[in-house]
């Protein structure tokens, strides 16, 4: 969909390059500029068959790599020409000094993807997924009752920020289609994560105190928890009145339907300890397989918690092409597929350092003044 769009990626690490990956999946021509030593992410994770660290492969498929050292005057001249020829420039922290001196062409979209944004007291401070989860209160929402905050394992800040950057860049393309004008965009992981606090903000704003960490319960509805079975646990989540009736029918406690303590979803949430005890009394004397079978037959949202191994072997995940095997010199590397099914594809492994970038740069600059 973004076929041939010239994207100059001037950032390293996770969030910014992940946004670049998504643009590349959509067909954009992404040149990733790397210092002579390479993006530090190349050194993270066990080296794959091509000698590149696994982490780099995850977020850099479909791109081309250009080595350029802004300390060298020849490289700097090339970078300046590319920064004028690009339709989209993705920059990170620290902001490249040389880029500040290259005026943004009127139709260009220049997007900074950084932990804290370009304004505010923390602008420019070093960040990472864990740091953003810690400082925005995302971690504080996660943890067992009475326990310490714990990070969400999947890097929700890096992923949320990258997706938000794609949204903003393409929204700016839409605006450009109407007006012909590009613009600068300041995407901060900090802002994205504050917006993700969502359900937790109400009580914090109303009372000045956040709701306590609540393990696997939901802020607003019940029953919603992991329940013990005789050989494990199942997760059961409900929010509607028909689902509550179905739960009571399932656990053979329809007498509780008349109990005023459970009359609305908010009352059930306020009495979640009692609600959960009703359910656990029934699940704990049954095997997981039986609880799952009966729960699914009742059309209730119910699940066994999948370990990573289960996900990687799940037909549903594979059918949606979320696991991609890409060729690299000497073998293959496995990376997640595209979230843009039907419009995007992950089909080329991340480039070796310097691979393909010079040719791409020549093609960009063909016919442009030196």
């Amino acid at each position: 969909m973004l076929g041939g769009l010239r994207v100059l990626e001037l950032c390293a690490g996770w969030a910014g390059p992940l946004a670049g990956r998504m643009l590349a999946e959509l067909g954009a021509d992404v040149i990733k500029v790397e210092p002579p030593a390479g993006d530090p992410l190349r050194a993270v994770g066990a080296p794959e068959r091509d000698g590149t660290g696994y982490a780099f492969h995850l977020v850099n498929p479909n791109k081309r790599s250009l080595i350029a050292d802004p300390q060298s005057s020849a490289d700097l001249a090339l970078l300046e020409r590319l920064a004028r020829a690009a339709e989209i420039v993705l920059e990170g922290d620290p902001q490249p000094e040389w880029l500040v001196a290259v005026p943004r062409p009127p139709a260009q979209i220049r997007c900074a993807v950084t932990p804290f944004g370009r304004t505010g007291p923390l602008a420019g401070a070093p960040g990472a997924d864990l740091i953003l989860q810690a400082i925005t209160g995302i971690m504080a929402t996660t943890g067992f009752d009475g326990g310490a905050p714990v990070r969400i394992g999947p890097t929700v800040a890096d992923h949320g920020t990258a997706l938000m950057a794609v949204v903003d860049i393409v929204a700016a393309l839409c605006a450009r289609a109407d007006t012909g004008a590009g613009q600068a965009i300041d995407v901060a992981g900090f802002d994205a994560m504050i917006s993700y606090l969502n359900a937790f903000l109400g009580s914090a704003l109303l009372t000045g105190a956040a709701p306590p960490r609540q393990g696997n319960r939901h802020t607003s509805t019940a029953p919603w928890n992991a329940y013990p079975t005789s050989d494990g646990a199942v997760l059961l989540c409900t929010s509607t009145e028909p689902q509550w009736r179905a739960v009571l029918q399932l656990i053979e406690r329809e007498d509780a339907l008349a109990d005023p303590c459970y009359a609305t979803v908010s009352k059930r949430r306020a009495n979640a300890v009692d609600v959960d005890a009703l359910i656990a009394a029934w699940t704990s004397v049954r095997a997981t397989s039986e609880v799952m079978q009966l729960g699914e037959a009742a059309r209730l949202p119910i699940a066994i918690v999948a370990e990573l191994d289960d996900l990687m072997h799940a037909p549903a995940f594979a059918e949606r092409e979320m696991i991609r095997r890409l060729s690299v010199p000497g073998g293959e590397v496995v990376v997640p597929g595209s979230l843009f099914a039907g419009e995007g594809a992950v089909d080329r492994a991340a480039p070796a350092l310097g691979a393909g970038g010079s040719d791409a740069a020549r093609a960009w600059l063909a016919g442009t003044p030196g």
Binding site: L41, I135, C174, I194, A199, V265, L311
Partner: protein, 395 residues
């Protein structure tokens, strides 16, 4: 300049978080968003905690939209929905699997009447695949997508992300896909069907755990490990004198800077810790070098020393402190809006455009408050016709 998506009309047939969150962001990008609610309203309108008697969570997911009621299962309601669709550029929905198709509003039928439409279905497991028919909520997807399995202390039971991370990642991926499809619509005139899966987005986000799993390394690195990272170390929360501090070393240079602080030149130059893989393999040892250093200092001193050295660090804040910190205030992460005689604080679009404008957050009105404007002005129904529809409980 106006809003990036000015002039675009979005019809949201949504409830809970995924589709409403995506549609709200479209409204903040400048689109006109009409939220169609059943005549009893979105379930979340009453969810606690409440402000002026209305659910706060509902307002966070639904500001800057118009509220219109419609029973599209009523024959006259179905006719009205068709007329609305004729004025719609983007339709976004998150009903249970197959609900809209059963009622005659599946993509094929809608596309036949309105070929340019962008039609986005946000489902727990997507609209195709082995689990497509399964009912889902956020935490069900966190469970299937291995998010719970990779969250929580090592050795403890799986733990859900507190925030509804699967809803939110699903919503943000829906939003990204919608905006891409709008760009296609603008530049080529063609419509799209977008099959968005919260499961895909959740599984995708587990990717940092894939390398240890797929390369057969230490199995403890391919599952929940508290605040550690499967590929990086030091990466944890440390007890400082007066609170907790998170430190995350992502690069060799950051490691050398931190080691310089905690153990001096000797530690920084230690070849045993020169690579990320080696550091992760020695995470226990490295944590033993960081912990006493952090423990002897205040949170502020640790964070300042790290930041000055270029090492990512932050206090672990409780949420109420997080949203009132100076950076949040200066970035205007939350903005006040007039609300039912008082005011309400709402999140805003999490980015800054230099040119496109973004509307200030404005709470959605009471249920059906925009019926007259939408059915009257947009569809051209008379006041009598609208009153009649209301009396027949169609709207």
């Amino acid at each position: 300049m106006s809003g990036a998506l000015a002039g675009l009309r979005v019809l949201e047939l949504g409830q809970y978080t995924s589709a409403p969150f995506a549609a709200r962001m479209l409204a903040l990008l400048g689109a006109e968003v009409i939220k169609l609610e059943p005549i009893t309203g979105d379930d979340m309108r009453n969810w606690a905690p409440t402000i002026a008697g209305e659910g706060y969570f509902f307002h966070l997911n639904n500001s800057n939209k118009k509220s219109v009621t419609l029973d599209f299962k009523h024959p006259r309601g179905a006719e009205l929905l068709w007329r609305l669709i004729e004025h719609t550029d983007v339709l976004v929905e998150n009903f249970g699997p197959g609900t809209l198709a059963r009622n005659g509003f599946g993509y094929d039928a809608v596309n036949a009447r309105r070929p340019s439409i962008v039609y986005c279905s946000v489902k727990g497991f997507g609209s195709t695949g082995a689990l497509a028919a399964k009912p889902a909520f956020d935490t069900i997807i966190q469970a299937y997508g291995a998010m719970m399995a990779t969250t929580g202390p090592a050795g403890a039971p799986p733990l859900k992300a507190g925030i509804s991370a699967s809803d939110l990642l699903g919503a943000t991926s829906a939003l990204a896909r919608i905006v891409v499809a709008i760009y296609r619509q603008k530049t080529t005139g063609t419509g799209s069907f977008l099959d968005v899966s919260m499961y895909d987005a959740t599984g995708f986000a587990t990717q940092t755990f894939w390398p240890p799993y797929l390369t057969g390394g230490d199995p403890a690195r391919a599952t929940r490990q508290g605040n550690r990272h499967p590929l990086l170390a030091p990466h944890d929360v440390y007890a400082a004198r007066d609170g907790s501090v998170a430190i995350a070393v992502e690069t060799d240079a950051q490691w050398r800077a931190l080691a310089q602080l905690t153990g001096g030149h000797e530690l920084a130059a230690d070849p045993r810790y020169a690579s990320a893989e080696a550091r992760r393999a020695h995470a226990d040892e490295l944590d033993r070098s960081v912990a006493p250093w952090a423990g002897a200092r205040s949170v502020a001193a640790v964070v300042t020393a790290c930041r000055d050295a270029g090492v990512p660090a932050a206090p672990v804040l409780e949420l109420a402190d997080a949203i009132e910190q100076p950076h949040a205030r200066e970035r205007e992460s939350l903005r006040s809006a007039p609300f039912r005689g008082g005011e309400i604080r709402l999140t805003q679009l999490p980015l800054r455009f230099s040119e496109s404008t973004t509307p200030a957050p404005e709470p959605i009105g009471p249920l059906g408050c925009d019926n007259d404007a939408v059915y009257g002005t947009l569809l051209g129904l008379s006041a009598n016709e609208i009153a009649d529809l209301r009396a027949a409980r169609v709207i």
